[in-house]
């Protein structure tokens, strides 16, 4: 294991989906359309670090996470896991890597096969990768259940998913990822479908695992959750990262106009903190027709004429107070 690289290094990642032109479009030979879900994304993630990819729907955060795990096809860019380039590997070559990188999905009610008991669900990864003897597997399943907070494990092993609450099901899903001892965990909106009172319990598991050295890539639209748990935040818009940096820096000293607007409209708990939300007009455009200049320009409250001439790169803003703070805007 080389010591000088991050566990995960993503560079200029691109993922595009073709979109239908319709009969008229095909007949009139209109150019083939593509949704540019991920349009040049670069970031790195170290062990023991939690990076939150935040943004609204259509920004590409879920596509980015799935691309990193090679669950969807990419059209360009490089993905290096522990120093090894994985963007070109075949399904067969990827198989052993699947042990080291896992994903937890958003919907706890759909993540578990309703016909599998909890024990079988958690044992499945071990079966797939032919790890351990019968006895060793049972021990591993129990240990995973306890790590996920479902103790005593015996109480849960023989249950069916429909006998468990949403929070418990999500813990089972997490246990099923832990049983192989992964190094990278992608959590796609892990608590958005759970009641508020249950969320902290689930997130604290991820928190602790991070403290023990797991690298966590969390996808979320909830900025407050990201602000509380993540070490670093990357804000995405239309397939690109527009701002990134340590959490405190991005939350307290946002530089990109989109980040600022977004943070200003997040409702606060304290009714005395109503503030002046900066509500942008319109909605996020679709990612089919992206102009070659700043993609945020049409809705940007700070846009000037020059903004239509250049596609800004991520660089350290003048007013940033941390060396790792980056924003893609020519005006900051």
């Amino acid at each position: 294991m080389n010591g000088s690289h991050s566990l995960l290094e993503v560079e200029d990642l691109v993922a595009r989906y073709p979109v239908g032109r319709g009969v008229v479009g095909a007949v009139t030979r209109q150019p083939k359309l593509e949704v540019r879900a991920v349009d040049g994304v670069s970031f790195s993630l170290d062990r023991g670090e939690m990076l939150a990819l935040v943004g609204e729907s259509g920004c590409g955060k879920t596509s980015t996470a799935q691309s990193v795990l090679r669950l969807i096809e990419t059209s360009g860019g490089s993905i290096r896991f522990d120093g090894q380039e994985i963007s070109g590997l075949s399904t067969k070559e990827l198989r052993p890597l699947r042990r080291r990188m896992q994903i937890v999905y958003q919907d706890p009610y759909e993540s578990l096969d309703p016909r599998f008991r909890v024990g079988a669900t958690i044992e499945e990864p071990l079966e797939v990768h032919k790890v351990g003897s019968r006895q060793e597997r049972r021990e591993a399943v129990k240990a995973a259940l306890e790590l996920a907070g479902l103790t005593p494990a015996e109480l849960y092993i023989d249950r069916y998913p429909h006998e468990l609450s949403g929070g418990q099901r999500q813990r089972v899903a997490i246990a099923a990822t832990l049983v192989l001892g992964p190094e990278l965990l992608v959590a796609d909106e892990p608590v958005s479908m759970l009641d508020v009172s249950v969320r902290a319990g689930i997130l604290s598991i991820l928190d602790e695992l991070r403290d023990k050295g797991l690298a966590v890539l969390m996808i979320t639209h909830d900025l407050s959750t990201a602000a509380h748990y993540a070490d670093r935040i990357a804000v995405m818009y239309l397939g690109r990262i527009v701002e990134e940096g340590p959490t405190r820096e991005v939350i307290e000293n946002p530089q990109h106009p989109y980040t600022r607007a977004l943070l200003s409209v997040v409702p606060k708990r304290d009714p005395r903190e109503r503030g002046t939300p900066q509500i942008l007009r319109g909605e996020t455009p679709n990612s089919i027709h992206i102009p070659p200049w700043c993609r945020f320009q049409p809705r940007c409250p700070m846009a000037i004429a020059d903004c239509k001439t250049v596609d800004p790169e991520l660089r350290r803003p003048a007013a940033s107070t941390h060396p790792e703070h980056r924003a893609a805007c020519i005006r900051v």
Binding site: S197, V265, K268, R269, P271, E283
Partner: protein, 327 residues
């Protein structure tokens, strides 16, 4: 003291279960809504807030039984069920549903669906209805030439705006909104909430916002009731709920909601789960999960007591307060 626009008193709803038992989903809740007021009904899944809201409109399924009163201008509209509540639907009380996809007929144009309630209630028809529908669309931020488009041609945020326009078609006095922004992005959510607030002000609408999202209620509403296990745990001005809660559930619910600026403060989680509603509940329903439970809690049901200016709470910690709450 003028009569409040809407008074809910001791509302109870039971559902017959296929297995034969009964689910007591709403267990005697009371609250009031003044004209032009923005009131939040907050709680987690299963607390009964949506059922309570549907009862106000009389939109309950056939296996439901309702008791208690819902008074509009002093008159109990639930007195004889469907017969007494249907004349008020859409005219006086209208509703915006969660995920407006469900509110629209996919094969009819949006404009025609806004005109439809106008025609049904005899408010306007033909060209006049058409013009009013277009005005409503403009008012909610949709260009009027979109009236001839179909629901699937609208984005999520636009559809929700159209659903609001449809709710306002018959000039109601009360607007019920069930999780109106849950499926929407945070920026679109801000737009919709801003729209609801400005409409409430312009049309002097009373707004009843039903949601699990506390921060939205904190930003939009004046007062709110926190529901738990089919009952009102606490009801007060939103400021009092956050700064001086008198029920542990209210306090813990806020503590379990992460906030952007709260920095290192630990986010709370509430262990356990709500009680089953198909069995009678003994004592305080929140007691098994409460961090301040003491002697009377497991066996005695706490009464709703007035603990401050228009502030009621049902918790034994307030037992030193003498008088019970007046409805």
């Amino acid at each position: 003291m003028t009569t409040p626009l809407l008074e809910v008193e001791d509302l109870n709803v039971w559902f017959e279960l296929p297995s034969g038992g009964e689910l007591h989903a709403v267990r005697g809740i009371s609250f009031e809504l003044e004209a032009g007021e923005r009131f939040g009904l907050v709680g987690e899944s299963g607390c009964g807030k949506t059922t309570a809201m549907l009862s106000i409109m009389g939109l309950l399924p056939p296996n439901a039984t309702v008791a208690g009163e819902v008074r509009l201008d002093g008159e109990n509209i639930l007195a004889r069920g469907e017969e007494t509540v249907s004349p008020h639907r859409w005219n006086d009380i209208a509703m915006v549903f969660q995920g407006a996809m469900n509110a629209f007929n996919p094969v009819k144009t949006v404009g025609s669906q806004i005109e439809e309630p106008m025609e049904l209630h005899g408010i306007a028809e033909g060209r006049i209805a058409r013009r009013q529908a277009e005005e409503l669309l403009e008012r909610v931020g949709i260009p009027k030439d979109r009236a001839d488009r179909f629901p699937h041609e609208f984005s999520g945020g636009m559809r929700q705006r159209a659903a609001i326009a449809m709710a306002l078609a018959c000039e109601p006095r009360i607007l019920l909104a069930d999780e109106p922004t849950t499926a929407l992005d945070v920026m679109v959510q801000a737009q919709i909430l801003e729209l609801l607030v400005s409409l409430a002000a312009d049309f002097n609408l009373a707004l009843l916002l039903v949601t699990h999202d506390l921060p939205i209620v904190a930003q939009v509403c004046d007062r709110a009731a926190v529901m738990y296990a089919g009952e009102v745990a606490e009801s007060a001005s939103i400021d009092a709920l956050f700064h001086t809660p008198k029920h542990p559930y209210t306090r813990l619910l806020f503590a379990a909601t992460p906030d952007l600026r709260a920095g290192g403060e630990r986010v709370a989680s509430i262990p356990g789960a709500p009680p089953r509603l198909d069995k009678p509940i003994v004592g305080c329903p929140f007691q098994p999960r409460c961090d301040r439970a003491f002697a009377p809690c497991p066996t005695e049901t706490p009464l709703l007591k007035t603990v401050g200016e228009r502030h009621v709470a049902a918790c034994h910690l307030n037992d030193h307060v003498r008088e019970p709450a007046t409805a």
